[in-house]
Amino acid sequence: MISAFFIFNQKGEVLISRLYRTDLKRSIADVFRIQVVSNTDVRSPIITLGSTSFFHVRINNLYVVAVTKCNANAALVFEFCYRFISIAKSYFGKVDEEAVKNNFVLIYELVDEICDFGYPQNSEADTLKSYITTESVMSSNIAPEESSRITVQATGATSWRRGDVKYKKNEAFVDVVETVNLSMSAKGTTLRADVDGHILMRAYLSGTPECKFGLNDKLVIDKNERGTADAVELDDCRFHQCVKLNEFDSDRTISFIPPDGEFELMRYRATSNVKLPLKVIPSVTEIGTTQVQYVITVKTNFSNKLSATNVVLKIPTPLNTTNVDCKVANGKAKYVPAENVVVWKIPRIQGGQEVTFSAHAELTSTTTRQVWARPPIDVDFQVLMFTASGLIVRFLKVFEKSNYQSIKWVRYLTKASGSYQIRF
């Protein structure tokens, strides 16, 4: 299993080093520095040298590295690295060299807790926060009952929830966030359109509530009430560990005892009948070798009561562009030479509207006639109260011993960031 855990900065300096097993020396860090950090052409996230394997994940200016000396479970090791990153995020807000340096004592405590002898242990940020805190804890100050309670919870069947949660007002917020992945060919045919959905929940519920959650899942609806038109076909669902998987497997009911506070209840994938919120019609013509003419139209494809916000188009330009003259009626467009793109930002487009961008790029003449690769146009946006898959939350029922009333809120958001690509 995991023999050692390191964090390196960009220069290859060790910021954190923790050995979990006795089969390695601390100096193994030098090998990683030489083989990966100072190697400009690293083409695999796992490097094996002899019988030592280095798994690395890059985040901001850091390398998070796990080292193993056996035929390790690669998926587990990477999941562990990413889990560390998400715990660190929830503790310090951001994960970069500064945050690691400022919190190195806390990080040592964390890596000691979430992994023992190379086997990952409880890594729920919420539970960890109850006994690993930024202020130093005096063991004499905590009552033994308190710490037994913490530890029982950290190992229990509902390790994600404390038992004694109390709220005056019992509320649950459900956010359905859909990320649309699109690849549109230059001819305007959809090569790939699918939805990665996340259902995030913020549960502020007292006691140990049993929740039941219902979606317009086609498989459920078809079974119960035939002929309902607006059912959604979900290709696959993945759940937070609180969801009882065997119940879902037998009759697709989603029931769970939620962790307190914010968590990701489920993820799903849908590929059929994806409604694309934005339609982008590009027309890009290369005039000779010195000019490129752009006309790009964006149409919104949803009800006029809704609107797309924070729309950002990144329109690629050839590498030898000197100047781009943009004309836009909505938003702002600016040429960013460092990235070889024109960034067109539109704060808001209403449903049923259409906006146009036209530009004229001038190129320097180059001696090497390299064909322009024409990378795709990338579109980022957000549309509130709209789901590209058509998914709706049908109910969220909360059962608790004390039978309290609870208020539930549901929000929908469809967005794209870096995955909505149109070729031209």
């Binding site: 299993m1 060790v14 910021l15 954190i16 006795t22 601390r26 193994i28 083989q35 083409r43 695999s44 996230p45 796992i46 490097i47 094996t48 002899g50 019988s51 030592t52 994940v57 000396k69 056996c70 035929n71 479970n73 690669a74 998926a75 587990l76 990477f78 999941e79 190195f104 004592v105 040592y108 000691d112 023992d116 002898f117 086997y119 130093s136 063991s139 100050n141 033994p144 037994s148 530890t151 029982v152 190992t155 229990g156 390790s159 090569l191 790939r192 699918d194 290709d235 669902c237 993945r238 759940f239 560990q241 998987l245 879902f248 489920m266 994938r269 390299q370 064909v371 690769a373 990338d378």
Partner: protein
Amino acid sequence: MSGFRGPPRKGENYELSADLNSEYREKRKDAIKKVIANMTVQKDVSGLFPDVLKNMQTDDLEQKKLVYLYLMNYAKTQPELVILAVNTFVKDTDDPNPLVRALAIRTMGMLRAEKILDYICDPLNKCLRDDNPYVRKTAALCVAKLYDLKPELVIENGFLETLQDMVADSNPMVVANTVAALSDIHAAAVLAGSSTDTFHITSTILNKLLVALNECSEWGRVEILSALARYETTDERESEHICERVVPQFQHANASVVLAAVKVIMIHMRHVKSENLNKQMIRKMAPPLVTLLSNPPEVQWVALRNVNLLLQKRPDLLQNEMRVFFCKYNDPLYVKVEKLDIMVRLAGEGNVDALLSELKEYASEVDVDFVRRSIKAIGQTAIKIDAAAERCVNVLLELIGTRVSYVVQEAVVVMKDIFRKYPSTYEGVIPTLCANLDELDEPEAKASLIWIIGEYARKIDNADELLGIFVDTFTEESYPVQLQTLTAVVKLFLQKPDGSQGLVQRVLNTATKDCDSPDVRDRAYIYWRLLSTDPGAAKAVVLAHRPPISLPRTTVSPQLLEELLGEVSSLASVYHKPEETFVGRGRIGIDTVQKKGVELADDRAAAQKALQTVAIGQQAENLLDFSDADGAEDGQQPSGLAATTMLTSTPAAANLLAGTSSNPLDDLVSIFGNASLSAPTVQPQSAALGGFGLGGAPSPLPPQTPSVLQAASPPTQQSGQEDLLGLF
């Protein structure tokens, strides 16, 4: 205490030492933090051991943890002093606070000092039976730690038995850690050469594991699933039962749980005979595998490598899912490359158009390596799907039209393979290829084009001119190009003898006199003798039909594939290599195996190497499997067929095919038996030489040995050869 060592007089450590002994709590704690910081950057702070140790007894948990961290690192270098810490440790394991108890037992297991180990057994025994599950789960792993350091202690104290009892613990997390500890001990025992099964999973344990599976944390599930994978079922019903209980885990958010579940299913499915159930399982497996692609790229890559393996076993797994493997522009290269491979695997007549337009798109991207692989994928698609070959060729022609140097060169290489699969089908393309002759500067592309020219010399009017260019620069070319030039010129001569006599003379002269590669020189001599002895036989040998190439369905041998599927999600399954190739026996240090590691470092290269080995194996298979149908097709004479069957059934023939015989002449004679004694000696010699020369491994062409003996029936045959055939 520090007196006898003599503390450093000045410098950072001296100051730290003073601070560690300060009367102010905060100052001492800050000093400990500094010590740890120095330790992290590998400065030597071992001299401060006694000073740090003094700060161990404290109510401040954070400080305690820091001191422990220091101890874990330096205990080994200061065995004498560690003893001083034992008391505090033992006392801590009695602390009312379970966090402190767990911390103490966790740390004690990590102190690599012989002396302290004897003191650990009593507290460990106590902690294994602690009321608090948090302490128990920590103690369980501590047993594995102890086994790693001193196995005798674990056995003497009966900790193994305790652990085996703990599998039935009421707390799922304790069960999970116990399973992890037992598996770890088992692995260590196996490595040490023990034959007893330290972690034998009985059907009672199995049921407990299945119960704990649904309740424990994600990491615990992975451990339990790995244990389930090891369980040997007694009957089919049991296998089915395990599969049914594991299938729900496909819906877990953690990719390693999903893959661990896939592993269990793949292993236990082997015993499930019901085809229906198998299909159902495969159907349930597909969507979660696709969902793994929405993970971060590193996890995606692990998933893709495993999907690649799974597809080799079950090509029907992701039948209609090719689109999800389309590359995104910003995917890392290693993900893209893997996706390409999977896309070709999933290609069928139904989706080939979509695939080709994708591949064409990729061929215009920036990364040269990726572009080349995309073009290769087009070639593989053409070879895989007969009906789409023409469309592939058209795409390749379009790509050649871009005149981007590396695109053209790769396309030429790919075209050669298409010709090898579909001989004489796309001759119309040849002029376009030849027009790009000047652009080629890579040996592989050159060799490919030369091969095409040689093969179709009859149809290319200026073939002699084109080959002449390469003959002129013969000595400057690399060996693969030289070998191809040589063969191509001979082919040209055999097809169009008038006008190319001079060229063939020139190339044979240069190759035999001015060339230092033994392969090139030997092959030149073979051709020369063949041509001078018997042009007819030469024609039969050199121009004979070769079986078309095909795409290997698996990249690893079937046995290895089964083994790797039993290790889904492990490093072995990611590298597509058995564990022994990269895990040194008995955990060898990095330096000793570094040499071996160099080839492994670039695993892609390694994968390619594996592919080549398989390709060679495949060719060898072609050679041996030489089907009757093929024989009937080419050898119009029944004798050809007879020759084939006879050949493969004679041991001497096997020798000849394998190219191991020292004297092919003898072998040939032995095949023909007594009857061959009457045959003129010259004839067998020429035939033997032919077989010998064409079996030459470095040639990219498939070995032709069998076709020689079987299709030796052109009208130009001389009487001697007829004699030879007449013998059958």
